[in-house]
Symmetry: C2
Subunit: 412 residues, 2 copies
């Protein structure tokens, strides 16, 4: 019995997270029939808030989804960086009218599940074939097609995309690399404003605030039009450094922030203490495409969170591939080759830069002194550290000239 | 037999180096009779070049010695900071007309022995009693006088100054501290231009150039109107770090600079390899005055060389004390109290800042990346890191407002 379905879709996407659904939205807009295979019993997202920089919101605007994203999220006024020890502001990025004009789109923060729902609804409207309880065990490549193999039934399509995230099993044929553990643990908490124990005068309800500390940091911003408050506290685990298997537990959390300013320590009380996330990334790889199989999103380029670009780069992947494959009967080989060439270069830089920013956020001693001087010296209108990122186009041509887009991590 | 000489001088200065002679010049100008006791068989200085920033040259101008200092030295155009690994310029301080107008005096580099000779000749002209082969074993303090005790003959005076340098024996009653070894060794070389093996196109004959490297640095500048070239190569000794007693030898020199740019390595060939200087400083102390005995110069506040302020601060000590003790029959108690209060505060900051700059010069990794970004970001007309130092007045009132004179080391 041939259980392979050949006619259902031109593209099969394995994984129904934000990256998988973004690809489904982009490819249906480009004229293709798409099936999404999600192994869970239902589509959904766990977690708390996420940040969408203009390189992603420009794409969401083009897809007709930005208004809804803004309606369910928050448009912060500023991205504020503070020293976690003394609490003082080091610099801020004004996210207002000048910023939006410069990058052609706003900076938005939104709950992960809200963004996921918006993408899911868009897929439904576009007629994407959305399937749950679908565990793909491997992808078989062919010359002009590929097949997502499941225990019960396989799906053959012109292209199969692996969007199965950081722990991607489908990445294996592309690389035998292991996810790299940073030794940092993240605690999150997205709670209704009424549940917060932080003094109201210490709440920056219009800003994304990041406190840099030695071996730790705290991110705070509002969600859902200000009804919720989102916090992420991240620290280098001493237990991990000692080689202990059980590390990052709540008993380490308070100690990691003990030397921080009272405003920072006050935030820890409203984190979810019953779960935490060890932080992983992978090193960049050069090949995401093999015949008609391609990696996308975290399966292709998992990154540390310090540039808040995980979702943004997954959305950019989707826009890029769809841009190369627009219209009926595209040249898929050329489309995938262009996608690979352009997106591996950009995301490798984001992965490396995210590591660099993590070091910069968490440093101590002389490096902290120099970082604080550098940040304090920054002109508020100096965009050179973000131009290269926020002005990124999903197409090859950069929006800003290369000379403007200086890459701090290149100095290292 | 009473061998004590009571009438020769109002002030006896123990030590005839740059600091001792500067005090003699200042105090004779203030109307006092001065004797200088030098333990060596003749007055003189060893070493190579030194740098005189405007906080010192303003004083030399007041003493009528600046024209001669300039005539025998060099007025560099710029103080240039470069990365020793890639050789690129990080920033520079323009030492031209704007700089001179801002600080009321020029930046001058001069051979140590030339500055010493100028001060010596000024002492001779002023009738200072200059004595050699005079080893002072201790200073006996009295209520209204002090006595410099020598094996043969002692010198009683209204005030005795201990100007016996880093290894001061006369400091002992003030502090039982030890000189602090930095574990860095300095190689110097001041040679006629003709002897240089550096390619001429690599010679910056108008500039003071400092190359910052990981655990090492190189300073280069011309001397004697450009007839000579002065170099100082300094490195952290691995042998010292390993606890070896014999460290800093020439076998360590080349290895310490092995990863530096060829322009930096080329400089090492014309250093004097037959001698080197281990670099020491001491922690600041609060009391330099006991009755009629006072410390001055390196005996009071030996510092690391990274701000090039050793001679400058000794000259400032001299100007400060003489300013408090001007005219016949000064109130020496008040003068010494004012001197101690003002000069301990300033020099403690210079000592601490010099250590901080050393760390900044010699850092690697993330700190190097951040330092280079900070230095490259600096506006050429931004004087805030030097205002606090170069605008120093020997009197208590600062020339620039405190808000301008930001102290980078305070961040640490």
């Amino acid at each position: 019995v041939d259980r392979t379905c050949t006619s259902a879709a031109e593209v099969v996407i394995v994984g129904g997270g934000i990256g998988g659904l973004a690809n489904a939205v982009a490819l249906t807009r480009a004229g293709h029939r798409v099936t999404v295979l999600e192994q869970a019993a239902q589509f959904g997202e766990v977690g708390a808030g996420l940040q969408l920089a203009p390189n992603a919101t420009r794409i969401l605007a083009r897809w007709g989804l930005l208004d809804e994203v803004i309606a369910r999220g928050v448009l912060p006024s500023r991205l504020v960086f503070r020293d976690a020890i003394d609490g003082t502001e080091l610099t801020h990025l004004d996210l207002g009218a000048d910023f939006r004009a410069r990058y052609g789109a706003p900076y938005v923060v939104i709950h992960r599940s809200d963004l996921h729902q918006i993408l899911y609804a868009a897929c439904q409207r576009a007629g994407v074939d959305l399937r749950t309880n679908a565990t793909v065990t491997r992808i078989d490549g062919g010359e002009h097609s590929a097949t997502a193999v499941l225990p019960e039934r396989s799906h053959e399509a012109a292209v199969v995309l692996a969007a199965d995230g950081l722990w991607s099993q489908l990445r294996r044929p592309f690389s035998d690399d292991k996810a790299v553990c940073s030794g940092f643990a993240a605690y999150r908490g997205a709670v209704p404003i009424a549940e917060l124990t932080i003094p109201r005068e210490d709440l920056a309800m219009q800003d994304v605030v990041v406190y840099f500390g030695p071996g730790c940091h705290l991110v705070q911003y509002p969600l859902r039009g200000g009804e919720m408050f989102n916090q992420v506290a991240v620290f280098r685990s001493a237990a991990y450094s000692r080689g202990e298997a059980d590390w990052g537990g709540p008993e380490e959390l308070d100690g990691a922030f003990a030397q921080c300013h009272p405003k920072v320590r006050a935030a820890l009380a409203t984190l979810w203490r019953d779960r935490h996330w060890p932080m992983f990334d992978r090193l960049p790889i050069e090949h995401w495409v093999d015949g008609r199989v391609a990696l996308t999103g975290d399966a292709a380029h998992p990154m540390l969170q310090y540039l808040a670009q995980g979702a943004c780069q997954a959305i950019a992947d989707a826009a890029n591939l769809a841009g190369h494959a627009a219209g009926a009967e595209p040249n898929w080989e050329a489309a995938l080759a262009g996608y690979q060439a352009e997106r591996t270069a950009v995301t490798a830089r984001v992965q490396r830069s995210a590591r660099f920013w993590g070091e910069t956020w968490h440093c101590d001693g002389l490096a902290r002194t120099l970082r604080n001087a550098l940040f304090r010296d920054r002109e508020i209108t100096d965009y050179r550290y973000v131009d290269w990122l926020y002005a990124q186009s999903p197409s090859p041509a950069p929006v800003v000239p290369r000379s403007v887009a200086r890459d701090p991590e290149k100095e290292a």
